[in-house]
């Protein structure tokens, strides 16, 4: 497996080999599915839309509906305005969504289609809306695209219609699974704080089997709710890459103060979320949450000897990798290779500093490790060849490295294409941390069992 990957690392300035990111439009498509009764629309060649729908479908095992402008060579030369207008007409006639969320592609960005003016001249039925985000594939990553479409929601929908802000929080969850979004909503509700979450793919990409297909399932953030987000007294952006930019845009547009937190994976990041809600809204932490937290700490201390000192490599989206790093550090593990494919900083959205953030975590723990943004899995594999690890955490693409180096893999992040259920159950919050601990523990202990000689196989571990 991956036999042509040498141990010796040469500096590359051309090839990306085995990417740890994909392009903006898929993130925009996913975000748009987090608006209730919204049809994402890809303004480009139909191949983009086909690839994104296929990929999202494989991760969520759910219908992923989206339309495309189906550019031909002619449209690429003369501009895609006619295609987009035809598409808008056909989509409203046939599928009747409330909102069409248009995102661009490298094709329509390169030829410079002006989406707002095309939308203005399109026939949009009364009561319906078309929103858009620019998502050139040659900037940032799929995380940037998610952020940009969320920002598009702010641009088109959010309004500060009241004189005084309401006691409610906007939660921008970042590029997470529906199961995670549900969990964040549950915790916020337990805190007794009214909230608006957008995008919100719970109920949209984890819809139940009913014997009927609904093109627009029950879930998704309501347009009225997103509109009302301009009246909230606080925005919590969970993840600097996936959520901070739209949160700051909302701050600029509607004067809603924005606080950027880490994705609430692990005890510290979850504590930070709960504390932000508690302090801002003067809301007591209920017993139920305190109990969940206490259970988590109980297990952390009970099992610390399973984790302590184990070397781990983590890759994936920057917000997720940062929080996972913090989490494994809280367990006494040693994260030695930390990599995201998303560039550290990029034009056109997603503001963050993955390398500085993660390096600081390692320094605080008195550790040193390799940290890279804009990296690829070929390089991560080479790092592992040079400094082996006990565990790899990342998406499904990690299974090839895991097999080549015979190390256990814990699947976290996007995409997970070879296992099911993951999108329904959270990795966020105290419960999510408990689940992650179980996943990591199983992987590590299964390996100990597998490798043990007969006389060393332990009944109790």
């Amino acid at each position: 497996m991956l036999d042509s990957t040498p141990r010796e690392i040469i500096a590359r300035t051309g090839a990306v080999i085995n990417p740890a990111k994909t392009c903006q439009p898929i993130g925009a498509m996913y975000a748009a599915l987090g608006i209730h009764r919204c049809l994402p629309h890809s303004h480009g060649s139909q191949g983009c839309c086909a690839y994104h729908r296929s990929h999202l479908t494989r991760h969520f095992r759910e219908p992923v509906m989206a339309s495309t402008s189906s550019f031909t060579e002619g449209a690429s030369v003369f501009g895609g305005s006619a295609n987009l207008k035809t598409a808008i007409k056909n989509v409203f006639t046939l599928y009747n969504p409330d909102v069409i969320a248009v995102h661009t592609t490298c094709l329509s960005e390169t030829i410079g289609d002006d989406i707002p003016s095309i939308i203005k001249s399109a026939a949009i039925p009364p009561g319906k809306m078309v929103i858009h985000a620019n998502t050139p594939s040659y900037q940032g990553s799929h995380v940037t695209g998610f952020s940009n479409m969320t920002k598009g929601m702010v641009n088109y929908l959010a309004e500060a219609s009241l004189e005084n802000k309401r006691e409610q929080v906007n939660i921008l969850p970042g590029f997470l699974n529906p199961g995670d979004m549900r969990e964040i909503k549950r915790l916020t509700a337990l805190m007794g704080v009214p909230f608006i979450m957008f995008p919100d793919t719970s109920g949209s990409l984890d819809s139940p089997m009913s014997g009927q297909f609904n093109m627009f399932p029950k879930g998704g953030a309501r347009v009225e709710a997103i509109r009302d987000s301009g009246n909230s007294s606080l925005t919590l952006a969970l993840g600097e890459y996936a959520a901070s930019d739209p949160a700051y845009q909302l701050e600029r547009k509607c004067l809603v103060p924005a606080v950027v937190l880490r994705t609430p994976i692990g005890i510290q990041a979850t504590d930070a979320l709960i504390m932000a809600l508690r302090q801002h809204f003067v809301a007591e932490v209920p017993d139920e949450i305190e109990e969940e937290r206490g259970q988590l700490v109980d297990i952390m201390t009970d099992l610390h000897y399973h984790f302590h000192g184990k070397k781990v490599a983590i890759f994936g989206d920057p917000d997720i990798v940062a929080s996972l790093t913090e989490m494994v550090l809280s367990l006494g593990m040693k994260p030695v290779h930390l990599l995201t494919g998303t560039p550290n900083t990029s034009l056109g959205g997603a503001q963050g500093n993955f390398e500085a953030t993660v390096t600081a975590m390692l320094e605080d723990a008195g550790l040193a490790g390799r940290v890279k943004a804009g990296g690829d899995l070929f390089e991560l594999h080479q790092w592992i060849k040079n400094e082996p690890v006990d565990l790899l955490i990342g998406n499904t693409y990690g299974k090839y490295i895991a097999r080549a180096e015979d190390i256990p893999l814990v699947r976290v992040g996007f995409p997970i294409l070879d296992r099911g259920v993951h999108s329904y159950l959270p990795v966020v919050g105290y419960r999510g941390a408990l689940r992650l601990m179980e996943m990591i523990d199983n992987a590590l202990q299964d390996r100990v069992d597998r490798d043990a000689r007969d006389e060393d196989l332990e009944l109790i571990m």
């Binding site: 042509s4 086909a50 339309s67 295609n83 007409k89 490298c106 009927q212 297909f213 494919g341 070929f378």
Partner: protein
Amino acid sequence: MLNHNTLDEILNKYPAKEKRNRKKHILIKNITQENQEIEANTRTIPGIISSRGCAFAGCKGVVLGPLKDVVNIVHGPIGCGYYAWLTRRNKGVSKAPMKNFLPYCVSTDMQESDIVFGGEKKLARTIDEVVQIFQPQAITISATCPVGLIGDDIQAVARSAREKYGINVTAYSCEGYKGVSQSAGHHIANNGLTEHVIGAGDMEEAPQKYTVNILGEYNIGGDGWVIKKMLEELGYHIQAVMTGDGSFEELSNAHVAELNLVQCHRSINYIASMLEVKYGTPWLKINFIGIRSTVEALRSLALYFGERELIERTEDYITRELARIEPQLLPYRRICAGKTAFCYVGGSRGHHYQGLYEELGIETILAGYVFAHRDDYEGRQVIPNIKSDSDSKNIPDLHVAPDENRFRLKLSPERAAELKDKIALSTYAGMIQDMKDGSVIVDDLNHFETEELIRILKPDIFSSGIKDKYVVQKMGIPSKQLHNYDYSGPYAGFEGALNFARDVAMSFASPTWNYIEPPWAHRPLLEGTLVKGDMENA
């Protein structure tokens, strides 16, 4: 059954212009009518949710991607390379010293500055790095949308890399906007492979008797391996498979074969035709999906070579295999009998799987292709009548001439004429002729029509791809992916038919469908018994 009135009711929901368009892509088979025409390979309507992909997907994803000892470089932003990486189940295994690059995705990951200032330099650097790290014998470069728009000359970059490294470097201008679907990309890949790869090797003679190539077989789930094993057992030598588990090394010598077998007509018929002109090698349309089709393929192949011993060996083999397979199929047939299917796949499988379904007792009541042309529906005789339009004109036809040194007529004209009456020599009769009266044929079946036609025709199983799969399953109807076999297979040959039968029967027999309705759905919340006297008091 679908009648024209019901069909009209569906179509009436389209805006007028779209209705006129879609009407030509839908056909109800009528056996009393000869030469029923269908429109195909025309533009997808913007906003109408279709399953089609792009030229890049057809070129890099389908035809070039499976070549295992070739490094396929994708020149463009990261997405296109990423999505075409390991997503198609084209299996391949290399014996040392041959390398296997299938698990690698190489992209130039174009950034904004490359779009503004041009990406040729970055592409050249990428080739340098690929050569340094992987030392391949061959590299392909596939273009994505922005490449053509900004005017990167990938052909020139490939040329200078060929000179610099002395290896086979080819470039494919398969920008996603070309043509109207994946099909354009197949054509572009076919042109490049014919011009620069096939014949690049130095073999002059077939290494042994009965040497054939298998074209349009991508080894999804190991189909190609089943076919290869079967043919080798019968004494054939497989020179090259295009392109599943294929290699540059074998492909470069594909010109020596005595015959080209064509599995997927749509994606590879250009190579088949060009090799006939260039090297005098006829092609034979076969189908290794389904028991009868496999039998027919093996018989046609034996007949082509015509030696009695081979024909007898083939018959023995068929008898043996049928005796082995048939009893094992029975339990699955019992589950499947009387069921109906939609079969909407790609550019060949929409046809290929109908026979196998029938062998299980399942009737295909609707079939179609995502990106086929009229000849795949109506047969190759319509090719001269197909009007070219601005989209198809954008894909250059490669005009080949007989190779001065290597052209060799493999069949005498008399023998060819004699064979043409018996086997599908250099021809394909298409899907429609195999379909039953009253069945429905839909080209580029879209989401809206899928929902409507399922509502009316109520199939028991729907076979297509991943984008429809869960849409249909939400309706409580099992969906069998025929692009990737739901990660199962192989489905080719006799062995594959068994696997398919097992998988399809499983999708009907699975107990999981029994729980869709909760137990409280049809039971009142409050239940009581009528006690005497209640009526009087009420």
